[in-house]
C-alpha cells in the first residue's frame, strides 16, 4: 500500500514538474517567436504571471456543471500526467505506463472541458467543442495506426518498454521515418498548433471553448493546457526520439520538439474544420497504413 502512496506522490511531482516545464518552455517559445518576428518578446516567466493572475481573479460561474467540468478536466489531465515517465527510470507507476492510458485518460480531461464549455450556454463554446472533437477524430486515427506499428515492433505498449527498445535498436524516428512524419502532423493537431487551431480561432469564434471563462476557471484551463501539452510532447519524445536516459536529455529533446512545432505553427494559416478532416484522412492515414502493412505484414 505504501508503495502506491509513494507512487502517487511521485506522480503528483511529475504532474507539477510537467506543468513547470511546459510553462517555462512555453514562455521561452513566446520569446523565440518574438525574436522571429523581430520583436523583443515577453519575459520567459510571462506564462506563470498570466496563469497566477488568472487564478487570483474573481470570476463568474454559470452553474455547478461549469465548475465541475473544469475540476474534472484539470483533475483528469493531472491524473494522466501522473503516469507519464520522464526518463526510462523515473516513472511513477512502473509497469503501468501503458500507451492507451494516455490516450483515454486524456479524453476524460477533454470531456470535462467540453462539458463545462457547453454548460456555459454559449453557442460559440459549443461550436468550439464540436470542432475540437471533429479535429480529434481527424488526427487520432493516423497517429494510432503509427503507434500500433511501434507497439507491435517493440512488443510492448509500455512507454518505458518502448524507450528501452529504442535505446537498444535505434530510434523509431529513423527506422519508421514515414510514421515519424505522420505523427508529427498529428502532434500539431493535438497541440492545436496553427494549421489545426480551428477549434480555438479567436478571431472567428472568440476562442471557442474558452469563450466564457475568466478568472480561476480560465487559469485552471491554462494549467490543463500546459499539462496536456507536456503529455503530448513527452509522448512524442518517448515514442519516436528514444525517450531519455537522463533528465537533461529529456529536456533537450522536449525543447527541440516543442520549439519546432511552434515555429511551424507560426508560419501557417488556419484550416477550416472539414479541411482538417480531409487533410488527415488523405495522405497521413494512407501513408501510416501503408507503412504499417510494409513493416508488419512483410
Amino acid at each position: 500500500m505504501s508503495v502506491i502512496l509513494m507512487s502517487m506522490l511521485i506522480g503528483l511531482g511529475v504532474a507539477l514538474f510537467g506543468f513547470t516545464l511546459q510553462t517555462t518552455i512555453g514562455g521561452i517559445n513566446r520569446k523565440v517567436v518574438g525574436r522571429m518576428q523581430k520583436r523583443y518578446g515577453p519575459k520567459w516567466y510571462q506564462e506563470f504571471l498570466d496563469i497566477f493572475k488568472a487564478l487570483s481573479k474573481r470570476a463568474i460561474s454559470h452553474g455547478w456543471i461549469y465548475d465541475f467540468g473544469v475540476i474534472m478536466a484539470v483533475g483528469g489531465i493531472t491524473a494522466t500526467a501522473m503516469f507519464m515517465p520522464i526518463t526510462d527510470s523515473l516513472v511513477a507507476f512502473a509497469g503501468y505506463d501503458n500507451f492507451f492510458i494516455f490516450v483515454y485518460l486524456l479524453a476524460v480531461g477533454m470531456l470535462g472541458m467540453a462539458m463545462s464549455a457547453s454548460g456555459s450556454g454559449n453557442p460559440l463554446a459549443s461550436i468550439g467543442v464540436m470542432r475540437a472533437l471533429t479535429q480529434m477524430l481527424a488526427y487520432e486515427v493516423p497517429f494510432m495506426v503509427v503507434v500500433i506499428t511501434i507497439i507491435k515492433v517493440s512488443g510492448t505498449s509500455s512507454l518505458t518498454g518502448i524507450m528501452e527498445f529504442q535505446q537498444a535498436n535505434g530510434w523509431f524516428a529513423l527506422s519508421l521515418p514515414i510514421g515519424f512524419g505522420v505523427a508529427f502532423l498529428s502532434l500539431l493537431g493535438m497541440l492545436g498548433k496553427k494549421p489545426f487551431e480551428t477549434y480555438i480561432a479567436p478571431s472567428e469564434i472568440a476562442s471557442g471553448p474558452m469563450v466564457e471563462y475568466g478568472g480561476k476557471q480560465l487559469g485552471l484551463l491554462f494549467v490543463m493546457h500546459e499539462i496536456a501539452t507536456f503529455i503530448e510532447v513527452s509522448l512524442f519524445v518517448h515514442l519516436f526520439l528514444g525517450g531519455a536516459s537522463n533528465i537533461i536529455e529529456f529536456l533537450a529533446k522536449y525543447f527541440i520538439v516543442y520549439t519546432v512545432a511552434n515555429l511551424i505553427s507560426n508560419l501557417n494559416g488556419r484550416f477550416k474544420i472539414d479541411q482538417v478532416v480531409v487533410f488527415f484522412y488523405k495522405w497521413p492515414l494512407a501513408l501510416a497504413v501503408l507503412q504499417a502493412i510494409w513493416v508488419l505484414w512483410r
Binding site: I4, M8, G11, S56, K57, R58, I60, S61, H62, G63, I65, D67, I71, M72, G75, G76, T78, A79, M82, Y96, F99, F100, I101, Y104, L105, A107, V108, A114, M115, S118, G119, S120, G121, N122, P123, S126, M130, T134, L137, E140, V141, M144, V145, I148, I151, K152, G155, T156, S157, G161, E212, K216, Q217, G219, K272, I273, D274, V277, V289, W297
Partner: protein, 606 residues
C-alpha cells in the same frame, strides 16, 4: 437446486398472470413484471453462481432440452438483469400503450424466451425459444404507435430465422442429431455453409452490417423501455449465436499468415469493422437521441464481432466484457433518454436543451453511461476496449484497427451530442417546470451506473467468470495479478487508474475551492459580441451539430439503396400476383374463366 425449466415456465406463467391482472389494472400488472424479472434474475444469479442450476428436470415434453453452461449463464444473468432494470420503467409507460395487458405478457415472454435460448441444449429448443423472442418482441414494437418499424424488424428477423432453420436442418441431415455439439463435427463445405448461415442469423439479430438497418428504425420508434431492452438485452442474442457459430465450427479454409487467423474469421472481422464505421458515421448525424444510441448499439455490436472473430483469450474476454459493459451503459443511456422523453414528450435533440437544470441526476447517469460507451476510464467500457485493442494489435489487423480506432474516437463525437445539446446548453423556457425522474425510475438508473463503475474499477470478478466461459471453448484464461490484467503487450490496472484519477480530481477540487469564489450569473448573461439577445433558442446550438463533418459523407448509407432496390422488386412481384390472382378487373377474370373452361373442356386432349 433450481430447475431451468421451472424458471422458464414460471416466467411464462407470470406473464399470463400479469396479462390477466392488467386487463383490469394495467399498472399493477406492470409492477408484476418488476417482481417477476427480479425473481428470474435473482434465481439465475444465486443458483448460477453456486453451480446449482438443474437442467435434468423435464416438465416440458422431451424435445425441449436444457443444459447448464457458464457461457449461457453469463448471457442469461446479464440479459435478465437488463430486463429487471428496465421493468422499473414499465409502470410509467404502461398507460401510453394501446394494449397494456399484452405489453406485460410479451415483456415477460421475451424474457422467458431469451433465457430458453441461452440454456438450450439442442437446436430445436434453441429455435423454438429464438422464435418466441422474435415474435414477442415484434409485438412489443408497434405499441410505440408506429407500425412500419415492426415490418422492418420482422423482415430482418425472418432472414435470421430462416438462415438458422436452414442451418439446423442441414446439420441434422448430415449428422442426424439436433444437439448443439453436433455442429463441431461438421467438416468441409457443409461446415462452411452452416458457419455462414449461423453467422447470418447472428448478424441479423446483433444488427451488424449489412443488417444494421433495422436497429435505428426499431429502437428509434418503439416504446422507450422496449428500446432499452433491445439494446441491452435482446440484441445480445445475436452475439450469443455469433459466438457459437464462430467458435464451435471450424471449416477448413485458407490460413492468413499476416494476421494469424482463418479467412472466414477475417471476413467476419471485416464485417464487424464496417459495422463500426457505418454505425459511427450514421450515429454522428442523427437528430433523434434514441436513433443515435441505436446506431451506437450497432457500432458496439461491431466491436463484439471483431473481438469474437479474433478468437484468442484476450479478444474473447474483451468480447465478453464488452457485452456486459455495453449492456449496462447502453441501457443506462437509453433509460436516461427515456426519462427525458417521459418528462418532455420528445427525444429530438434539436428541440431540447438545458435538461441538466431540471434533472441533474439523470444527467449524471447519462454522463457516466457515455463515459463507459466511449471507452474512457474509470468505467467498464474502457477495460473491454483496451482488451479488444490489445487483441487487434496482437493480431496486427491494420485495416480493422483503423476501423476500431475510428469508432472509438467517433464515439466521443456522437455520445457528446446529446450531452451538449440536450442536457447542457441554454435552459429553454418551454420546458419550465420539468421535473427530475420519479423515484422508481431513479433506482435502475443508479444501479446501472454503479454497476458500470464497479466493473470499470474492479474487473477481477468479471474476468474470473469470463475465464470460465472461454475455458468452455478451449481457450486459456486471461492472466491477472493483484492490480492488473495481463494483456498481450502490457498490463492494465483499473484500480490504480481509478484511484489516480480520483486523486487528481480531489487535488484540483481543493485548489479550486481555495481560490476566490466565483460570482453566479445566469446562462443568458453570456458573451454575444455585444449583441442583445433575449431568446434562449437563439443562443442554443443544437441543430446540425456536426454540420462541417457531415458534409463529407453521404447522408444515406449506401446499403439502404440496395435494400430499396430489393423492396422495389418484392413490390413488383406482389403487384404481379395481385394483378393476376387477386383482382376485380373484368378482363383478367374473363381470361381465367376462359382458361379454366378451356382446360375443362379440352383438358384431356391437351
Amino acid at each position: 437446486m433450481f430447475s431451468i425449466e421451472l424458471v422458464v415456465l414460471s416466467t411464462l406463467l407470470a406473464g399470463v398472470l400479469a396479462y390477466i391482472v392488467s386487463i383490469k389494472l394495467p399498472k399493477l400488472g406492470s409492477y408484476l413484471t418488476i417482481l417477476a424479472s427480479l425473481a428470474v434474475f435473482s434465481v439465475l444469479a444465486y443458483f448460477g453462481f453456486n453451480n446449482n442450476l438443474d437442467a435434468e428436470v423435464n416438465l416440458i415434453p422431451q424435445f425441449v432440452l436444457f443444459k447448464t453452461s457458464m457461457f449461457g449463464l453469463y448471457f442469461a444473468i446479464i440479459v435478465s438483469f437488463i430486463f429487471f432494470m428496465v421493468s422499473f420503467f414499465n409502470p410509467y409507460f404502461i398507460k401510453d400503450y394501446k394494449y397494456p395487458a399484452a405489453y406485460n405478457l410479451f415483456y415477460l415472454m421475451a424474457l422467458a424466451g431469451t433465457i430458453g435460448v441461452f440454456f438450450a441444449s439442442n437446436f430445436i429448443t434453441l429455435f423454438i425459444f429464438f422464435e418466441i423472442v422474435v415474435w414477442t418482441s415484434m409485438f412489443l414494437i408497434p405499441l410505440g404507435k408506429k407500425r412500419k418499424p415492426t415490418v422492418t424488424y420482422f423482415v430482418f428477423s425472418t432472414v435470421g430465422s430462416f438462415a438458422m432453420l436452414y442451418a439446423v436442418m442441414f446439420t441434422f441431415s448430415i449428422t442426424g442429431s439436433f444437439d448443439l455439439a453436433a455442429i463441431s463435427v461438421l467438416s468441409g463445405k457443409s461446415a462452411l455453409l452452416v458457419y455462414i448461415l449461423l453467422a447470418v442469423a447472428g448478424f441479423a439479430k446483433l444488427g451488424a452490417y449489412p443488417f444494421y438497418v433495422w436497429l435505428p428504425k426499431v429502437l428509434g420508434k418503439s416504446p422507450d423501455p422496449v428500446s432499452a431492452v433491445f439494446s441491452g438485452g435482446i440484441e445480445k442474442l445475436g452475439a450469443f449465436i455469433a459466438f457459437m457459430a464462430i467458435l464451435r465450427i471450424s471449416p477448413a479454409s485458407i490460413y492468413l499468415e499476416a494476421v494469424g487467423m482463418y479467412l472466414q474469421n477475417y471476413v467476419i472481422a471485416i464485417f464487424g469493422a464496417i459495422t463500426i464505421v457505418v454505425g459511427t458515421l450514421q450515429a454522428i448525424r442523427q437528430d433523434d437521441a434514441k436513433k443515435l444510441l441505436a446506431y451506437s448499439s450497432a457500432s458496439n455490436g461491431g466491436y463484439i464481432l471483431v473481438a469474437i472473430a479474433m478468437s484468442s483469450s484476450i479478444s474473447l474476454t474483451g468480447a465478453m466484457y464488452h457485452i456486459l459493459a455495453h449492456a449496462l451503459a447502453s441501457t443506462a443511456a437509453f433509460l436516461a433518454i427515456a426519462v427525458v422523453h417521459y418528462r418532455t414528450k420528445t427525444t429530438k435533440i434539436s428541440e431540447l436543451g438545458g435538461m441538466i437544470h431540471h434533472m441533474p441526476l439523470t444527467y449524471m447517469v447519462y454522463l457516466m453511461a457515455i463515459i463507459s460507451m466511449a471507452g474512457i476510464p474509470p468505467m467498464g467500457g474502457f477495460i473491454s476496449k483496451w482488451l479488444i485493442f490489445q487483441a487487434v494489435i496482437n493480431k496486427q489487423m491494420i485495416i480493422v484497427a483503423v476501423a476500431t480506432f475510428f469508432g472509438s474516437i467517433g464515439s466521443f463525437l456522437y455520445v457528446f451530442r446529446p450531452l451538449a445539446a440536450l442536457f447542457l446548453g441554454q435552459k429553454l423556457p418551454k420546458y419550465k417546470g420539468v421535473k427530475e425522474a420519479p423515484f422508481l425510475m431513479m433506482i435502475p438508473l443508479i444501479i446501472l451506473t454503479l454497476g458500470s463503475f464497479y466493473i470499470g474499477v474492479i474487473p477481477n470478478q468479471v474476468i474470473d467468470f469470463s475465464n470460465k466461459v472461454i475455458a468452455e471453448f478451449g481457450f486459456g484464461p486471461l492472466l491477472m495479478n493483484e492490480f492488473g490484467i495481463q494483456g498481450a503487450n502490457g498490463t492494465l490496472s483499473a484500480p490504480i487508474i481509478a484511484s489516480v484519477f480520483g486523486l487528481g480530481v480531489v487535488v484540483i477540487a481543493i485548489i479550486f475551492f481555495i481560490l476566490p469564489k466565483s460570482r453566479k450569473v445566469g446562462l443568458m448573461d453570456t458573451y454575444t459580441s455585444g449583441e442583445f439577445i433575449y431568446t434562449e433558442e437563439l443562443l442554443h446550438y443544437s441543430a446540425d451539430f456536426y454540420a462541417p463533418f457531415e458534409r463529407l459523407y453521404p447522408a444515406k448509407p449506401l446499403i439502404s439503396k440496395v435494400y430499396a432496390m430489393i423492396k422495389e422488386k418484392v413490390n413488383e412481384l406482389g403487384r404481379f400476383f395481385k394483378y393476376w390472382f387477386f383482382t376485380n378487373k373484368p378482363e383478367v377474370t374473363v381470361l381465367w374463366i376462359v382458361l379454366i373452361l378451356t382446360l375443362l373442356v379440352w383438358g384431356d386432349i391437351l
